[in-house]
């Protein structure tokens, strides 16, 4: 007997649908509306405060004891940003001139000025998470700004960043909160719900531990104060959000976790046998991207080899880092030049097989050096 997809569809007509819980639908909807209104109202109130007190507000923001606040963003886009389609992340980046902290962050088509200069940047499905030198952590969805936590220490000595980690998909972001040295804790925060979803005490992290990678609901972290990212997972622990427990982690468990997310690349001989990774590097060769050291690179979602063309003006040998995933199909490359000091951003579309430039490197000469200020995208993502 043969069946067909159409038959299958017809048979589903006989499946009795569950009753929709209308009260629950309305409750969830009202919760979303309240969040949205809270951002707008608090933003308007903060506008008045900022206009009157100016720099005093900024000074107060360097105070560790400040509670979470919602501040007025400066937006170049006068219209409210439409809700992003689910599962599609907006391009998030900031410009660090000569490595100095900045206040301006780009979230899709919106530009937001944060109340305090920041130096580190991460992206979630909902917007940008920035970390200041004083260790304060803010989230912006491209409209409102919310202070979501603190590292509990100043970050000047951690020039490589990587103290706050967001996943390459989803709304979770994680860091170690050492504000109370007696009870240091690994914090996991959900930027879609604007709340802490886990606070995992780790007493031995009194002198600072590092988060390394967040993938799915699993946080890789280490006792070391140096943030290695996923380049060195020796001795790593994995905090599993669903069970609330720690277990040992290594490169193999990370590869398995990446495969479970369905988003990433596979580097190796075949899509099945290669290593699943969140990020990799590419080089331009005759208008096409080739994988790191010539290795084949596959799209994890489809198992197909990546075949991407770059714009005509990209010279052979130009290097690229995969730094963000926008959805299952599109990712962001940083680079595009022979040296490492031009940080153009390119959005690559697997289906179309093309990469197009999304943001050019800033062309302003800094005093004394004659070089170009770098467009820093996201230290955490670069370290993936």
């Amino acid at each position: 007997m043969t069946t067909s997809l159409r038959d299958l569809g017809r048979r589903l007509d006989d499946v009795v649908p569950p009753e929709v819980d209308l009260a629950d639908v309305v409750r969830r909807g009202e919760l979303r509306l309240r969040r949205r209104r809270a951002g707008v109202v608090a933003g308007a109130a903060a506008a008045v405060v900022l206009a009157v007190t100016g720099a005093a507000v900024v000074t107060r923001h360097d105070d560790h004891a400040a509670p979470p606040v919602v501040e007025l963003p400066h937006r170049t886009d006068p219209n409210p940003a439409p809700a992003p389609a689910p599962a599609q992340r907006r391009l998030v980046y900031a410009d660090l001139y000569d490595g100095r902290p900045t206040t301006r962050v780009h979230v899709g088509s919106s530009t937001v000025d944060m109340p305090v200069p920041f130096q580190w940047l991460d992206a979630t499905d909902d917007g940008a998470v920035v970390t200041t030198q004083s260790g304060r952590i803010f989230f912006t969805d491209g409209g409102s700004i919310t202070e979501i936590g603190t590292l509990g220490f100043r970050t000047e000595t951690y020039r490589s960043g990587g103290l706050v980690r967001a996943g390459h998909t989803g709304s979770l972001v994680t860091w170690f909160d050492s504000s109370d040295p007696k009870t240091p804790a690994l914090v996991v925060y959900d930027t879609s719900e604007l709340r802490v979803v886990a606070r995992h005490p780790v007493p031995r992290c009194k002198y600072l531990c590092s988060t390394q990678v967040l993938v799915g609901g699993r946080v890789y972290w280490s006792d070391s104060w140096i943030a290695y990212g996923n380049t060195d997972l020796r001795g790593a622990s994995v905090f599993d959000l669903s069970t609330g427990t720690d277990s040992p982690g290594d490169a193999e468990t990370l590869a398995a976790d990446v495969r479970a997310t369905g988003r990433g690349v596979v580097v190796g001989r075949t899509a099945d046998s290669g290593t699943a990774m969140l990020s990799t590097t590419f080089t331009a060769d005759h208008g096409r991207l080739v994988g790191d050291q010539g290795r084949a690179t596959y799209d994890l979602a489809t198992g197909e080899a990546l075949e991407l063309r770059v714009p005509d003006d990209i010279v052979d040998g130009a290097g690229f880092d995969l730094v963000q995933w926008l959805d299952d199909n599109r990712f962001v490359l940083r680079g595009g030049a022979l040296d490492g000091y031009v940080d153009n951003l390119f959005v690559c579309d697997n289906d179309r097989g093309t990469c197009r430039q999304a943001a050019p490197s800033v062309r302003v000469l800094p005093d004394g050096y004659g070089g170009e200020p770098r467009r820093i995208v996201n230290d955490r993502i670069v370290n993936m």
Binding site: G29, G216, T302
Partner: protein, 181 residues
């Protein structure tokens, strides 16, 4: 203002009552799991509730909700690793969930569920829901070319897995008996 709000509430309730069955069917096809489909419909309707003042027309609302269902379903495969953990012991199944009408051993249903999310969505929308390519692309938020690609990849995997027992679009016709003059 209050009257307008009451009208909106009534219209939204009517929309949910009238269209949730059809929306659930789409959700079930794209996620392949009764409980997940139920959650997906609830969540998608909540988003529609938020957008209702600018949708209002039932046709607009249904199209919007269906698009949220499809795009969210595609992303849920990733989130499931957070919300759900595999286990050796199955929990008490409790009340039958309705999908028992589908033979548990139905090879086609099983094969569809094994496809990657975007391929599964493209295949079920095109061939179970009979939607044209342009409409499928609109629902999935991608180009028609992407739909062709995902559909082709998905059907190839289904053919490889199921062989000739299943009648799939683009498959060669089964052998015909020889005609004797």
């Amino acid at each position: 203002m209050a009257a307008r709000r009451e009208q909106d509430a009534a219209a939204f309730s009517e929309f949910v009552a009238g269209r949730s069955g059809a929306l659930f069917r789409t959700a079930l096809l794209v996620v392949g799991d009764y409980q997940l489909a139920q959650d997906l419909v609830q969540e998608s309707l909540a988003r529609t509730y938020v957008a209702w003042p600018r949708l209002r027309e039932v046709a607009n609302a249904e199209a919007y909700t269906r698009r949220v269902i499809v795009t969210t379903a595609i992303s849920w495969r990733r989130r499931r690793s957070f919300h759900e953990r595999p286990t050796d012991l199955l929990p008490d199944p409790g009340v039958p969930d309705g999908t028992s009408l589908l033979d548990e051993h139905d090879a086609l249903w099983g094969a569809l569920r094994s496809l990657p999310p975007r391929q599964r969505a493209a295949v079920v929308l095109r061939f179970c829901e009979d939607l044209p390519e342009a409409r499928t692309a609109e629902l999935m938020g991608c180009s028609v070319g992407s739909i062709k690609r995902h559909t082709s990849l998905g059907l190839t995997k289904l053919r490889t897995r199921l062989g000739p027992t299943v009648d799939l679009p683009g498959s060669p016709p089964p052998d015909q008996p020889a005609v004797i003059a």
